[in-house]
Symmetry: C2
Subunit: 311 residues, 2 copies
């Protein structure tokens, strides 16, 4: 089968570190063009915008969009209207309603839309989901604590409206929890901590619950300069499931299932394999549960002011 | 056909002014019990909580929930689990995810769930929707401006997390617009104005768009002491549609269709007729588009501080 010819929009950190290496190895997709202002690449042609890219060539079958969430909707809409299959980096948009609009547009145009959540490609996801499927959950904790200066240097968009602040990483924890837990979860209480000089939260404490009544707590913080934590802990009637390092490691009832000592591997390979399968089966995958919980956290927020954040 | 025997939870302003008079006249439903702490009624038995009501009697087939949105989920869940059909006052909950959970629970239990939007019962809704269905929309404005001291005296819950502030009335405008406009709409920009002593916005300016590209502006304000406005104006290729007084009046291309001079009539009759039809056809009606747009407005908010609000 010929590889699908694809373009990438937005050559920032995530595209360079994750998408380019995976696409260079892919036997499903071939990256043939990039749209990004002021970027360079040794071998792939670069266009300043997706509009110019699509005007210059008619061979593009699929597009991955890696620009920040604000302003992503018109780009995705343009790709869909040009008849391209579209994969969205996480979060899939700045609002639920704009992603809903993309879903309607993709269906009308007969193309695949994949709202990807990279943490769902992590190696611990499937074994955790399978094990939990037959257990009774008593409680869970989603802990995502990292140093914003280390992981998001100079990413000013994070603090602008639509940038989500602490939820930009925290939504990865929610994307993991909503996949591995056997019941849908809903929000009951939200405390958001805003630096006095910023328009987005730097930390969040959420109280959630699942349909069977189990309490789930989320603790997200961008100010963690000690041990960096990207963990989900699920207490069950059969022992503790511990999802660690963003899904690079997994321990179940004291038994190590996946050794999380090394680098997190295979996330984006899994995403692109899934994207290829969706295209071949003319399907879409737009699960908005993680973004819905984040929107709920803002909707229900008890906002607290904390000390200013200066990078 | 025997009337459905129903209970009402939360005997506050909206229940006394709207639900009781309509239920007293209904030939579909009969109000036989009320759950509300510290309330009295001349002829209908009152119980302090829904739990005590359900423990005391086994004849309740349907429940309407009129308590404030915060804390409504466990009440609705209890009614569903007791096998009752449930109608929710607007907004249907404090978060999207909790209403989603109620939808899952209602389907599992085989009962009707109706997330009502009273403005959708207004007389102008159906003629506006029918006329717009065959027109091209150029732009629209949703203007909901009222005096909070006049319409929400002492309603402190409005200002607490989950109370929605200006969106408590503004969501009515969104429920009208999402029903009468021929295309789904999505949010592009949100400015929320917070009194410096409150944790909820007193005013909002939203920029939205429909799937065909038409720009839609929303202007919501709780500080309007002059002319009170609850209007939707839709500019089309065939003239202006003007939905006035929360749907009590309608003018199309200069021609008066519904005279909005009197009281807004028939909203709750229409809701209860719809609830009865849903129950008889074993269906549910949970359209979360208005609450999703409000959640999006909080998610994407550019928050501005304004002068303190003291009632």
């Amino acid at each position: 089968m010929a590889k699908l010819r694809m373009a990438l929009v937005g050559l920032g950190q995530i595209a360079r570190h994750e998408h380019l290496p995976v696409l260079a190895q892919s036997d499903v997709l071939e990256l043939v063009a990039i749209a990004s202002p002021d970027a360079t690449h040794p071998s792939i042609p670069i266009y300043p915008t997706l509009g110019e890219l699509l005007a210059a060539r008619d061979d593009i079958e699929a597009v991955t969009i890696c620009t920040p969430p604000q302003g992503r909707h018109p780009i995705a809409r343009q790709a869909i209207e040009a008849g391209c299959h579209v994969m969205l980096e996480k979060p899939p948009g700045a609002t639920l309603s704009e992603v809903h609009d993309l879903g309607v547009a993709a269906e009308a145009r007969g193309v695949t839309l994949f709202a990807s959540w990279h943490t769902r490609g992590a190696p611990a996801i499937e074994p955790a989901r399978e094990w939990l499927a037959t257990r009774k959950v008593r409680s869970a904790r989603i802990i995502w604590r990292e140093d914003v200066r280390r992981w998001h240097p100079g990413q000013e968009w994070l603090w602008h409206p639509g940038g989500l602040g602490v939820f930009d990483p925290g939504i990865n924890g929610l994307s993991a929890a909503t996949r591995i837990l056997p019941q849908p979860i809903f929000l009951e209480k939200s405390e958001l901590f805003y630096p006095s000089n910023r328009n987005a939260p730097i930390a969040a404490r959420l109280q959630l619950r699942d349909g069977a009544g189990a309490e789930i707590l989320a603790d997200f913080d961008l100010r963690e300069t000690g041990q960096q934590v990207w963990d989900v802990m699920v207490e069950t009637d059969d022992g503790l499931l511990h999802f660690t390092g963003g899904g690079g490691g997994l321990t179940i009832a004291g038994r190590p299932v996946i050794d999380g000592a090394g680098e997190l591997e295979g996330e984006y390979e899994a995403l692109y394999q899934h994207f290829g399968r969706l295209i071949r089966s003319s399907a879409s995958d737009v699960d908005l549960a993680p973004l819905r919980l984040v929107a709920d956290a803002f909707l229900l927020a008890d906002r607290k002011m904390v000390e200013p954040f200066i990078e």
